[in-house]
């Protein structure tokens, strides 16, 4: 019997698990995929929004601004890369400037610091690659960038280090209220928990419905992205937004904390909650917009494209409430969900307390997680001490991102453990570079096979069904 079961191991679930692991509670985080951070968390704009978009008074506004303030500390504790690069919303004409003024006003009401509208001279001085046609920009110096899956993995890892249990490939099918606890089943296995938190992302309405809450629905809103080679990561320094519409914040151009350039997302409501395919028209839409935003976009150096699904609730705001006894929703968390995630965790903890959960601070709670990128940032002398102790750190496996076997082995044995090729990739960046795993993936499959004690042909890309090799050759 767990005190709390958290459904969904994205960044929200991870942050909640970490928050609750600071208390004397037994916690179980359940995830339907083979790894954490597999939904919207691994495919979004990787932005910590300043907080000027949300309507004042909304949960989004409150939690975004609070989360954005908390994030720097959270990132430091979790050893996650974070950079306050500032953001700009670009206006091409006076009509769009009116929108900038609205955003400025909203931002000030929401308590965002340092916002101001700058003119063409200043914005081009700050970002020479912005197209000449851009006339004004709303500058938000508190905007930042982060790696969202790194954040979620670190949050879950830290929660696990503090006693939280993680169950992957557990696809919740039923939740029954047994009076003083819930019985959660995936059809094969069951877990019991006195309290349940629903942060199932795009499926959070389906999970809520299992306890009789049909007060909201979540629509998957597709967002496609393109990622550009690190050679062009410095094309812009700020995150550049177009003026927002009711479908979202438009197609942005942004550096990533790992030094790439990110383009996207598109915005399209779809029906299938599992459809993360990219489309030819979507990719065209991105490039068309980017060609308007910046001069000479490096469109020929795209190394990959991908798609994520925003969990868009029909309520217009995050759905964070107590719809049933001992059951808390953290549902419909679309943008700015990543930015808000530490604040959502704090708020959910308050709601659990309100719902009757007794929460006592854990004495030996450790909020610190060793950075997974520690080795790569060492000086040559420090690296050599490391290599002398463990020669695997001297064996480089991924040439494009310069990842050693030592880091890969560590990812396989550190919470939350990597069990497949994509999980290793998200933790170490091996395979994320310009060759996209062409050279390193056979070596990583071999390392996974050895470290997990499973046959080479049983190693998967991302869990059951995603086999890489069928059988031994004859």
């Amino acid at each position: 019997m767990f005190d709390v079961a958290i459904i969904g191991a994205g960044v929200v679930g991870g942050m909640i698990a970490r928050k609750l692991s600071g208390y004397d509670l037994s916690i179980c985080l359940v995830e339907k995929e083979s790894d954490v951070a597999m939904g919207a968390t691994k495919a979004n704009s990787a932005i910590i929004h300043a907080g000027f978009d949300a309507v004042p008074g909304s949960l989004k506004a409150k939690l975004n601004v609070r989360g954005s303030v908390m994030m720097e500390t959270v990132a430091r504790e979790l050893g996650v890369k974070y950079r306050r690069n500032g953001s700009m919303v670009l206006a091409f004409n006076d009509e769009e400037k009116v929108t900038l003024e609205t955003l400025l006003e909203r931002g000030e009401k929401n308590g965002v610091e340092g916002l101001r509208i700058i003119d063409s001279d200043e914005l081009h001085q700050l970002e020479p690659r912005i197209a000449d046609e851009v006339k004004y920009a709303l500058l938000a110096p508190t905007g930042a960038i982060i790696c969202p899956y790194e954040l979620a993995i670190a949050a879950v890892g830290n929660a696990m280090d503090n006693g939280c249990e993680l169950k992957t490939e557990f696809n919740v099918k039923s939740i029954s209220d047994k009076g003083d606890h819930y019985l959660i089943s995936d059809g094969k296995n069951e877990i019991s928990a006195r309290f349940v938190v629903n942060c199932a992302g795009v499926h959070s309405d389906d999970i809520a419905a299992l306890v009789g809450d049909s007060s909201f629905t979540v629509t998957p809103r597709r967002g496609e992205y393109m990622l550009v080679d690190k050679e062009f990561g410095c094309v812009v320094d700020h995150t550049l937004f177009r003026v927002p519409s009711k479908m979202g914040k438009g197609i942005l151009v942004s550096p990533t904390v790992d030094g790439n350039l990110l383009l996207g997302p598109t915005s399209e409501d779809i029906e299938d909650k599992s459809d993360v395919s990219t489309t030819a028209s979507g990719l065209d839409t991105i490039l068309t917009s980017v060609y308007e935003t910046i001069k000479n976009p490096p469109s020929r150096s795209v190394i990959t494209s991908f798609c994520g699904l925003r969990s868009t609730p029909d309520t217009g705001d995050f759905v964070i409430n107590i719809p049933a006894d001992r059951f808390v929703n953290a549902a419909g968390i679309e943008s700015p969900g990543l930015s808000s995630s530490p604040a959502i965790a704090e708020y959910v903890a308050e709601l659990l307390c309100d719902a009757g959960l007794v929460m006592e601070k854990k004495e030996n709670y450790n909020p610190i997680r060793e950075p997974s990128h520690k080795f790569r940032e060492m000086s040559p002398e420090e690296k050599n001490r490391f290599i002398a102790e463990n020669p695997a750190y001297g064996r480089y496996i991924c040439r494009c991102e310069e990842v050693s076997e030592g880091e890969i082995i560590s990812a396989i044995h550190t919470n939350p453990p990597a069990r497949d090729l994509d999980a290793v990739k998200r933790r170490t960046r091996s395979g994320m570079g310009r060759c996209q795993g062409g050279f390193c993936s056979p070596s990583i499959v071999s390392i996974l096979s050895r470290e997990l004690g499973i046959p080479f042909e049983k190693v998967t890309k991302n869990g059951e069904g995603s086999i890489i090799n069928f059988e031994r050759t004859k």
Binding site: M226, A280, T304, K383, Y396, N462, G465, I467, I468
Partner: protein
């Protein structure tokens, strides 16, 4: 800091051949570095035959061809470090690398030869829409799984791109019991060698669909199929010409990209067409004492030519180290004219006879290769057939180069019809 006269980055066919040439010229202190745990580079996974016909007048497999050189590397006592990843090369020729024995270390060299080879273009670079399941491999990755690791990465296969590795893998997968449904080629002609089309596709009844591409990938966890489509003259898919092919694997053989990240760190000027360094006849880059050869310089069709080119670089590096570089003051830029995509070298001088390699832009029949100095024809050679997949060359004699009036010559094709 280790000191070496010559540091060579990459111990594939180019690096080994350059090392052997330099040693034979008398350079004692050579350090050959490679990230693989063996000498030979990508040849080790090319277990098919067809290597060495020009160089050794015999038909060898990749490992056999590599052995011709690795044997010499051993016999000549050339020092090498394997499992060693080079992290940086500076313009003053300091090479920084890492391995499990030495940790991170630096080599101060008098000359450096860049021989890092190339990588395969990946799915992301093509922007093929659809899902991102397991079962999408570059042809070379699949080749590694099959030939080195001994595992079968696909049973029902579609191949996009008719580059040589794709063609070789079509045959390999078939021989391993897989079914290759089709090879799609975006262009109206194949980028591979004619002999590979005959021996790898025709002999096995595998259809080559020219002017076709893959427009969508299907499958959630593993590939379940691809949508292919005929393309128009501008290489855009023609609506209504889509076709779904059920398969579990998509192999990509859509081009090779010279791996010049280290060259950029060394401030070497790159040619936007070859994606390799700009070099003179000695294969010396724009940074004095840094040379380049093999697929890092430009993508070759045959390894035999890689070896030849690496010998030029190895010899020239040796001369450079010994202060014997004879450079004529006459430097002439080669310009690619009609029908010619690029030339290597891009610059020649009148010090010696220079063989110029180039690729054509399209399939041409009954063409003439012309070397022109303004309106004057310096050289004219007939070709019955030339194709982008097969490298062409012309020999510029020292006297030809001396006869040039200006500082630029054009290499171009003249086609009868």
């Amino acid at each position: 800091m280790i000191k070496a006269d010559l540091a060579i980055i990459g111990a594939g066919p180019a690096g080994m051949s350059a090392a052997v040439a330099a040693r034979k010229k008398g350079i004692e202190s050579i350090l050959l570095l490679d990230r693989n745990p063996f000498l030979g580079g990508i040849l080790e996974q090319c277990i098919h035959n067809g290597f060495g016909l020009h160089k050794f007048k015999e038909e060898l497999t990749g490992p056999e061809y590599a052995y011709k050189y690795s044997k010499q590397v051993e016999e000549l006592g050339i020092e090498y470090k394997l499992g060693t990843m080079v992290l940086d090369v500076t313009p003053d020729k300091t090479v920084t690398a890492v391995n499990e024995r030495d940790g991170v270390f630096s080599v101060q060299a008098k000359a450096v030869i860049l021989a890092m080879g190339c990588r395969e273009r990946s799915r992301g670079a093509l922007n093929i829409s659809g899902t991102r399941p397991a079962g999408i491999f570059t042809a070379g990755t699949a080749q590694k799984y099959v030939n080195i690791d001994g595992y079968l990465p696909g049973k029902k296969v579609v191949i996009l791109g008719s580059g040589d590795i794709g063609l070789i893998m079509a045959r390999r997968m078939t021989l391993e019991g897989s079914k290759v449904e089709a090879v799609c080629e975006l262009m109206p002609y194949s980028g591979g060698l004619t002999r590979n089309i005959v021996q790898c596709l025709d002999d096995f009844g595998i259809p080559l669909l020219l002017s076709h591409t893959v427009t969508k990938i299907h499958g959630d966890k593993r590939v379940t199929g691809v949508t292919i489509c005929e393309v128009d003259d501008n290489r855009r898919p023609i609506p209504g010409k889509e076709r779904y092919i059920e398969c579990d694997t998509l192999l990509l053989s859509v081009g090779l990209i010279p791996e010049n990240e280290l060259s950029k760190k060394a401030s070497v000027t790159l040619d936007p067409i070859t994606s390799g360094a700009v070099v003179n006849g000695n294969r010396e880059t724009t940074v004095p004492g840094i040379f380049a050869c093999g697929n890092v310089l430009h993508v070759h069709d045959l390894v035999d030519f890689v070896s030849d080119e690496a010998e030029i670089a190895g010899n020239a590096a040796a001369d450079y180290i010994m202060g014997k570089n004879v450079q004529s003051s006459k430097r002439i830029k080669l310009s690619a004219g009609f029908g010619v995509r690029y030339t290597v070298p891009q610059i020649v001088d009148a010090a010696e006879d220079t063989k110029v390699f180039f690729r054509v832009t399209d399939v041409f029949r009954k063409a003439k290769i012309l070397v022109k100095d303004g309106d004057r024809t310096v050289l004219s050679l007939k070709r019955e057939h030339c194709a982008p997949g097969e490298m062409e060359s012309v020999l510029l004699k020292k006297t030809d180069i001396e006869s040039i009036a200006g500082d630029n010559i054009d290499i171009l094709l003249e086609v009868e019809e």
